[in-house]
Symmetry: C2
Subunit: 251 residues, 2 copies
Amino acid sequence: MCQLLGMNANTPTDVMFSFTGLATRADEHKDGFGIGFFEDRGVRLFVDHHSARQSPVAQLVKTYPIRSDNVIAHIRKATQGRVALENTHPFQRELWGRYWVFAHNGNLVDFHPRLHAAFRPVGDTDSERAFCWLMQELAKAHAGVPAIAELTRTLAELMPTLHRHGTFNMLLSNGQALWAHASTHLHWVVRQHPFGAVALRDEDLSVDFAHHTTPKDRVAVIATEPLTQHEAWTAFTCGELKVFVDGQPLG
Amino acid sequence: MCQLLGMNANTPTDVMFSFTGLATRADEHKDGFGIGFFEDRGVRLFVDHHSARQSPVAQLVKTYPIRSDNVIAHIRKATQGRVALENTHPFQRELWGRYWVFAHNGNLVDFHPRLHAAFRPVGDTDSERAFCWLMQELAKAHAGVPAIAELTRTLAELMPTLHRHGTFNMLLSNGQALWAHASTHLHWVVRQHPFGAVALRDEDLSVDFAHHTTPKDRVAVIATEPLTQHEAWTAFTCGELKVFVDGQPLG
């Protein structure tokens, strides 16, 4: 199964610790990885079709503290589409003068929507088709960037169409918020004051966030499976869509 | 002045040598750098708003041999737009199911085209506006990816509109070809059999391409100023548009 990792914070935060936890699970996921960092409106997207264990690009991400408000990472186990750079998540498009970054875990069966607008897949995955369709439908529903609550309502209307075609765990961000939808496996946790020490589940690594934070900092982390021990991760229910803003779920 | 670097090859080739030559000139260009690598239809785009001298991302690019058919790199000296990730070249968009990568050197004055289609700037540079306008006009002129010669004719019709607004040295690629347009400074060279030793102009570094190539390899390099000594670089004339395919200029 692919692994997803999302981060939404109220102050630019690095994800070296969580990404290390994710990359540890990459043993059986040799089909590439990618990570997109929003810095305000700008995006850095690092992708590699080598595994997150071996890639020099992954090494950079683990050691260079890129501080970001919204992060989406994906470690791929190919189900549809060959192993190639153009099939590596996350995918990126521009809509309404904002970049959008998207990653998907799951498998959509017989999903071939009519893509009649400005968003076409470059690769041949079900995931990129789903992303292009989402962008197309958002563009039809709103003339410009709407308020986050309104965008969330539109996305909530669109999710069941995708969900009907199979497993659709996804992360989506435009740099202002992070949306997460689960069919099967997705968990979230919020870290905030008082911060403490946290240990990764799969690797002998821990960090004391109290040393790296201020009392105002708040960070939401979303992942396929809980990444840490002794933290209160909450599982998404089937078909649940959540939006994270300023390091916490809205509404 | 910003520095541009382009590479178009008939076989995937790394640009560590040329990028090192470009980064050497980055002393007075502290406003970010970026480089986009096409690997078939896929793209890796590395951007940083730190200088190419200091950035760990630039260090990765200088040492990790990413083999690519088409490369566009840019070292920025800000003229319009603040120093921010969203203003860092190259820019990327998708059109007709292909990624397009664009970088610009120069300054367009009073260029505020009507952007009524699907391509909107995310940042606030004249360069990204020009790119969005080019994408819009290409989308209007053709229903799908046309032949390279036809695309070149359309681009040749569009260039004077941009050129009229100021200096417009640019590189553009969709992974199939690399287009280069010059107002002022742009040079190109083709490396092919028999390959020999080449030395950078600005740094004490040379490479013997004979050790790294086969007789069939052919690479075109395009740069603001010649990067090497003792190679026959050709200067673009003012208003000249050239398209490079399989490591050589077409037509």
